[in-house]
Amino acid sequence: MTYSSEQILDLVKEALAELFRLDPARVTLEAHLADDLGIDSIDAVDLLYRVERLTGLKIGAEDFRGVRTVGDLVEAIARLPQAER
């Protein structure tokens, strides 16, 4: 299957709730990962691994370059090749 942006946002919300016990209501597309949600770059890697686990997609550090907000992250994940699913 391929993921729509809405599905990816839901996955990200799920991962953030699991990993950081973050209220999904705070996870909006505009939310800044570091400033608004308190996620540093090491936390971000845990988040990427969790999303990998949930989706089966392979995410590389280079895909994460320039990601600042939840919206950036959703876009970066949406851009990944989804063929292997």
Partner: protein
Amino acid sequence: MDAYYWRLFATGLAFTIFGAGGLVLGAIVLPAQRLLPGDALRRRARARRTVQLGMRTFVDLMRMLGLLTYELHGFERLGRDGQLIIANHPSLIDVVFLLAFVPGASCVVKSALWKNPVTRSGALGAAYVSNAPTEAMVMGAVEALRSGQSVIIFPEGTRTTPGRPMQLRRGAAAIALQGARALTPVFIRCTPATLSKNEPWYRIPRRRVRVSLHVGPDIDLAPFRASGPAPFASRALNEHLLGVFCAELGFDVFE
């Protein structure tokens, strides 16, 4: 004074030889090796062996010049598949010792090494892991561990600042939890302090340096992995590691 003027001269000589040797390896030997046939794994192994041999030679040279004495304990337990090796970092020469005596290992090193043409060939050839950006460092080290390599990292991120409490960045703990099959500490003591942060090479200690490297028992990762979500577990592990290093080293990291 323990042959002060000789050691001052020999320190300058050692730095010169290190620079010249680095230049020969980095500008000639390693680039030439990259042209030899073999797949990526063989090339990497070759480059790592060359770096190891260079470091080993340099350690022997420093010892023969009377600059230092050293002792190693438990090194037969280093270099296992998927082993993350974490060490404290009192001095510039720590990395020289670890690269010299842990065959085949990868190492997390400064990203600046990729920018300098001489060190670049070594960093690229040996496929070491750059410490920046942080995401790439963590993921690169995790991947190396998962592929069965052993990886050396200095979790302080930089040399210990003498007289200041030890601090560990969380990267090593996160890497361990995501990728390591074993996590093994190495306790490095360097007395008197030398080549620590912000110290010029010519400010040599009054006595010949004694370097000791003790491999500690493996740290069990299972309880941390079971303790909760990764971000919480890595914070807990990091606290634990700080306790392990402080308990072992106490205040004699710098005498």
